[in-house]
């Protein structure tokens, strides 16, 4: 069964720009789909459309987005709100930016949990702490007591993942979750996300610039350019036998360490 399915989606912004053209692809259960493509190609637009969080003036002009078989676009505001965060969650490039800078992580976390299940603050706090420790974050209590800016980028990103995962959503949408991070930290986050899928079976759609990350994480890769989906396929096929010319070009352009290049030539 598919968790998410884009059916012929087009998104248009108020200034008349069509940012996404007739995109269709599916996200099967427990799978990781990486969306790659150059900047401005509509990657963020696409996954934000699924969340119903298009920035001002954007709207889906055509197509359907099926979440577990139901058309999200037909949902009422309240309906979509109730599945956000619980059924499908999202993380962003700079997690700190997407948390209220003037409130501690703890209250925001608890608030999120209590938006979806009827529990006391204390219980919610416990859930939060559990989740944080599950993601192997050192000193979860301190994280709960910290303001976003008091944590390093990596910590924040992982805390954000924890927050997103605490309702055990079926789908996690990640918009460039590692781009703002250092390579060493990026590796940590990538590993974490892979573990999530293993442990909880969450399907993940990850938007990234980094072909290396896409290649390492994804089961399927979607390549976008100028709002069009150029290629969608299983990871091995896209990486090793790209059909689309643009994909080929792009893969050629990615610099690789010497020893890896040998693999490529082979």
């Amino acid at each position: 069964m598919n968790v998410l399915e884009f059916q012929d989606i087009s998104v248009i912004y108020q200034n008349g720009k069509t940012a996404v053209h007739n995109v269709s692809f599916t996200v099967p259960e427990h799978s990781i789909v990486a969306v790659v493509g150059e900047s401005g190609s509509g990657k963020s637009t696409l996954i934000r459309a699924a969340m119903g969080l298009l920035s001002t003036g954007g709207s889906v002009s055509q197509g359907r987005i099926l979440f577990e078989g139901e058309n999200l676009l037909g949902f009422s505001k309240e309906q979509i709100r109730s599945i956000r965060g619980s059924e499908m969650a999202m993380i962003f490039q700079d997690a700190g930016d997407y948390l209220n800078p003037r409130r501690k992580i703890g209250p925001q976390y608890i608030e999120t949990i209590r938006c979806h299940i009827q529990v006391s603050k204390k219980e919610a706090g416990q859930i939060a702490l559990d989740m944080l420790s599950r993601l192997k974050l050192a000193d979860p209590e301190r994280i709960m007591r910290s303001y976003p800016f008091q944590l390093s980028g990596g910590m924040r990103q992982r805390a954000a993942i924890a927050m997103a995962m605490s309702m055990h959503p079926k789908l996690l949408l990640a918009d460039e979750p590692t781009s703002a991070l250092d390579v060493t930290v990026q590796a940590q986050v990538v590993q974490e996300m892979l573990k999530l899928r293993e442990d909880m079976g969450t399907a993940i759609v990850i938007v990234t610039h980094n072909m290396g990350v896409a290649s390492r994480m994804a089961d399927y890769i979607a390549v976008m350019k100028n709002g069009y989906l150029r290629e969608f396929g299983a990871r091995d096929q896209v990486i090793n036998a790209p059909r689309d010319e643009y994909t080929q070009q792009m893969l050629m352009a990615v610099p690789e360490l010497e020893d890896e290049q040998i693999v490529k030539i082979r």
Binding site: G153, V183, T184, M211, S215, A253, V254, P255, L257
Partner: protein, 321 residues
Amino acid sequence: MSKSDNLLRLEHVSKNFDLKGRGEVNAVRDVSLTVKSGEIVGIVGESGCGKSTLARLITCIEPVTCGQIFFDVREISSFRGKELRAYRKQVQMIFQDPSNVFSPRMKIGTFLMEPWRNFEHTSRPEAMRLAVEALKNVNLDEDYLKKYPHQLSGGELQRISIARAVALHPKLLICDEATSALDVSTQSQIINLLKDNHKKSEYSILMISHDLALAENFCDRIAVMYLGSIVEILPGRGLRKNARHPYTKALLDSVFSVHGDPEKKIRILTGEPPSPVNVPAGCAFCGRCPYGDSKCERETPQLKNIDFQHQVACHKEELPR
């Protein structure tokens, strides 16, 4: 050591930023490095490790806190006014984000003519002609002269920056993450452009990047920085093979390869770089280093030659490769 041999020499250069009562940022700590004429030297390291600061020190945008920088045997910290301008004519810089480099309200033409007009006092028409030529050099036509920066793409802007930077035949070109804001395909075009250009004219390049693979592809030598200091300088080729410092290795391990084996286990480095504010003595990497011991905590390791063109700052030189 002849004059032409060492174009740029940094000796124990440090830079602290005063945070006004909240301590000091040790952005660059005791860095020594040489760049030979015609050589391409890469500087890699994570965000915030002091790469850009180093570039700003070399270009006299910020004064050094201590240490000396020699350019063609002359110490640059004393440069003022005319001398400074003459120096900057020889040392050009290309910035990370091309959209920040252009004054939003200045036409490309004016921007391009600037070096000739100011350094050579060329007449306007002549400067214009030279500008067109410079544009051709980076595969752009003269229509661009009349455009405004916001009408162009990042790649085009970066080409124009390069065109201007190499216009007056500098001796040293500093590229501060010159391609990291661009898409991969644009990135490779720019890199190729730089490569071609470098072949034609004999300047040195100091290439700052956080992309190890890119650096390996492009540089003769690579300096790896961690928390403001250089931990290893090694030849550009065969990074994985040569790397000795645990940090360099960890960096290499963190790189995800497109064509690598997806099932390969990710070896991760725990923790994150400490804050550069008031860095304690000892090996800066010690806290995250799997081999760190009490000596590492106490003593700051110095760069030592261990091979041709290969220096490492680590107490554990004998560690397995």
